[in-house]
């Protein structure tokens, strides 16, 4: 009997696995060509959300400048994988730097992690909301520098951003081309989808193992009660720094992927709104719960796009013409959705079982 149950579960997982693998073809068939790209971005957002989940969900440190690490990763690859540096240092790099993506990736991850430690070290003494605002300031500083470091030495090319970034290559095959495997044609967006899927799965797996590890349990102890945790012999400072560094590393990795995928980066992609968006994914989905965070990432990445595709036809059907600017209408609906979901499920859409229990017992304690 037990065996049967296991295989049923296994079958379910297998079916889900196949469904996810076939996802780009399903969206192609059902929704149209443009959707694979949107799903690709959703994967990037999931990676970011999982990374932020380590900082906010596990360690309980509110970080509002998370997108800065994403930016660090993206600019790392943009500088070392494009002709851009030829502008700044024509003698040194006559046609720019073209390092392989796979060399830049660990470097960017380390650099972003280092930035995380650098940001964390002086600020970790701060209480929650102060930490939030300092990280917010840090994110803005990074963005302002990216915007302005085009003079006197043109390092970031300012608001115009850096373009013509090399695509990701796997074993010499550029992912910017259409490939065919076993007779199945895979356009570039499909190839990137599988790359991102792999990375997202890796990030989810690492998150899962971290959560169950000694470190993860220590993080959660810090989140629940820092003083008690430190009394139990947990080195709270180092562990909080580690949380910052790990989260930042994941942010850096997804940033590098973003730069390779997009072929273009500009400061516009790293605004405070993006940090807020990623935070919304984590909180809306269910802090500290991997499935919840993935759900949140998927929803928030896809919802605005769905609204984009539905507000115009809807208005045409109702009034015969477009009377309200679709862009603002879609953001308006998005804002309303955020409020409504939080009002009805304040712990997130899919909170972790532990967290749900804690909340329930909190309420019970308050009633007494």
């Amino acid at each position: 009997m037990k065996n049967f149950k296991f295989s049923k579960r296994g079958l379910l997982f297998f079916l889900m696995f196949v469904a996810v693998l076939a996802l780009p073809f399903i969206t192609d068939a059902l929704l149209g060509r443009g959707w694979v790209r949107i799903v690709d971005f959703a994967m990037l957002y999931i990676m970011l959300a999982l990374g932020l989940n380590i900082v906010v969900g596990y360690a309980g440190l509110l970080d509002l400048g998370y997108i800065a690490f994403f930016a660090v990763g993206a600019y790392c690859y943009a500088l070392t994988g494009s002709p851009h540096l030829a502008l700044a240092f024509p003698q040194l790099f006559p046609d720019g730097v073209h390092l392989s993506f796979w060399i830049v990736l660990p470097m960017a991850a380390m650099l972003a992690g280092g930035m995380g430690v650098l940001l964390g070290a002086p600020t970790l003494r701060l209480r929650g909301d102060y930490l939030a605002i300092v990280t917010l300031g840090f994110g803005e500083i990074i963005r302002i520098f990216m915007n302005n470091l085009n003079a006197p030495v043109n390092l970031t090319n300012g608001p115009q951003g850096i373009s013509r970034i090399d695509p990701v290559r796997i074993a010499g095959v550029s992912l910017n081309t259409t490939q065919s495997v076993f007779g199945i044609t895979l356009p570039s967006v499909h190839l990137y989808f599988y790359l991102f899927l792999g990375f997202a799965a890796l990030v989810a797996f690492v998150s899962h193992r971290l959560e169950k590890s000694r470190i993860g349990r220590a993080w959660m102890a810090i989140r629940e009660d820092e003083i008690a945790a430190s009394a139990m012999g947990i080195n709270t400072r180092n562990l909080k720094l580690l949380a910052f560094a790990m989260g930042a590393m994941f942010g850096g990795v997804s940033g590098t992927l973003f730069a390779g995928f997009q072929g273009f980066v500009s400061p516009e992609s790293f605004s405070l709104m993006e940090s807020v968006m990623v935070l919304c994914m984590v909180v809306l989905g269910g802090m500290g719960h991997i499935y919840g965070v993935i759900l949140g990432g998927l929803m928030l990445a896809l919802l605005p796009e769905m609204l984009r595709h539905s507000v115009v036809p809807l208005q045409q059907a109702m009034f015969g013409k477009v009377i309200i600017d679709p862009e603002s209408l879609r953001m308006l609906l998005f804002g309303i959705a955020l409020i409504v979901v939080m009002l009805y499920r304040p712990a997130g859409l899919w909170p972790s079982p532990v967290r749900r229990r804690e909340l329930a017992s909190d309420e019970a304690a308050e009633r007494v």
């Binding site: 929650g128 909301d129 917010l136 803005e140 302002i144 820092e226 935070l279 955020l338 304040p346």
Partner: protein
């Protein structure tokens, strides 16, 4: 020397606006322990409402000297209603929810307000009508004009008024009591919900005034103007010690001064390497420095870590 004085004047004017907005943040934080992220949008709404009322009234031939206070009153009333509504819809139901839940609803409210404003007033910049002759005055070579004088005087008046309300009236005592300990205040017969609502309304009224001031000073209003202003004002509130009214005022003025002096002199200091486009960096650098060396802000009390 003239440049220095000019930067001081600019900083004071900008700082008084920051201070008024920062008061809204700090009052709400003091009472609820919540960052009211939508406050910047309330400022924007106030500016837009005032501007629309002003344009309409002038169009009907009302004299500018009457139109200005009337439209300010209308904007304040509108923002008070808005502040009340925001608290009622987005924050009150979540008062006992996890700490981050109201933050998300606040972000939601701010997105909603911004886009509503875009639908109503469009994406374009709205020019502020020329109402009074804005005479410039020379003080030791630096220029201050009438509008700037009015802004500073009004801001000081409002802040003084707020201090009187908070420290001398029954309502103020109730507000301080709720900030101190909600449960105890309730047991002493304070209507906590009413006090919180009123706090939001006062903060929003101040925001409306600040909105009008900003648009009068720059001659412009825009649906996106609340975002950065709100962020800076929040920075000011943290700088002074969030939850502390005097701190918000001091933080606002200081931030205004630091920004304008920093932007004015950064070119000289770095030998032309960085220019005034780094103005916004100053606000955040100062913030980080203050928090690292004095985490409770300039005037904040050192709070015991919450168990």
């Amino acid at each position: 020397m003239e440049i220095f004085l000019q930067q001081i004047i600019n900083g004071l004017v900008q700082g008084s606006v920051y201070a008024l907005v920062a008061l809204g943040y700090t009052m709400v934080y003091g009472i609820l322990g919540l960052i009211n992220f939508a406050h910047g949008e309330v400022v924007m709404t106030g500016a837009m409402l005032a501007l629309s009322a002003l344009t309409a009234l002038i169009g009907w031939g009302v004299s500018p000297l009457l139109a200005l206070p009337v439209s300010l009153m209308l904007a304040m009333a509108g923002c008070m209603a808005l502040g009340y509504g925001i608290e009622r819809i987005a924050y009150r139901p979540l008062r006992h929810a996890p700490r981050l839940a109201p933050l998300i609803t606040a972000i939601g409210v701010s997105i909603v307000l911004q886009n509503l404003a875009m639908m109503i007033w469009g994406r374009e910049y709205h020019a502020f009508p020329q109402l009074i002759i804005n005479r410039p005055h020379l003080i030791f070579g630096a220029i201050i004009n009438d509008i700037q004088i009015i802004i500073v005087v009004m801001a000081i008046g409002l802040m003084a008024g707020l201090m009187v309300v908070v420290h001398r009236t029954r309502l103020g005592r109730a507000m301080r009591a709720v900030a101190e300990n909600q449960h105890a205040a309730q047991l002493m017969g304070v209507d906590v919900n009413r006090v919180i609502s009123i706090t939001f309304m006062i903060g929003s009224a101040l925001a409306a005034v600040a909105g009008l001031m900003v648009s009068a000073n720059y001659g412009l209003a825009h649906y996106y103007m609340g975002f950065l202003l709100g962020l800076k004002a929040f920075t000011a509130a943290v700088l002074g010690g969030i939850g502390n009214l005097r701190g918000a005022m001091l933080g606002g003025l200081l931030l205004g001064l630091i920004e304008s002096l920093g932007a004015g002199y950064i070119g000289d200091i770095t030998g032309g390497f960085m220019g005034s486009q780094y103005q916004d960096v100053f606000a955040f650098l100062v913030l980080i420095a203050v928090l690292v060396f004095r985490p409770s802000g300039l005037l904040g009390e050192r709070l015991a870590e919450r168990a």
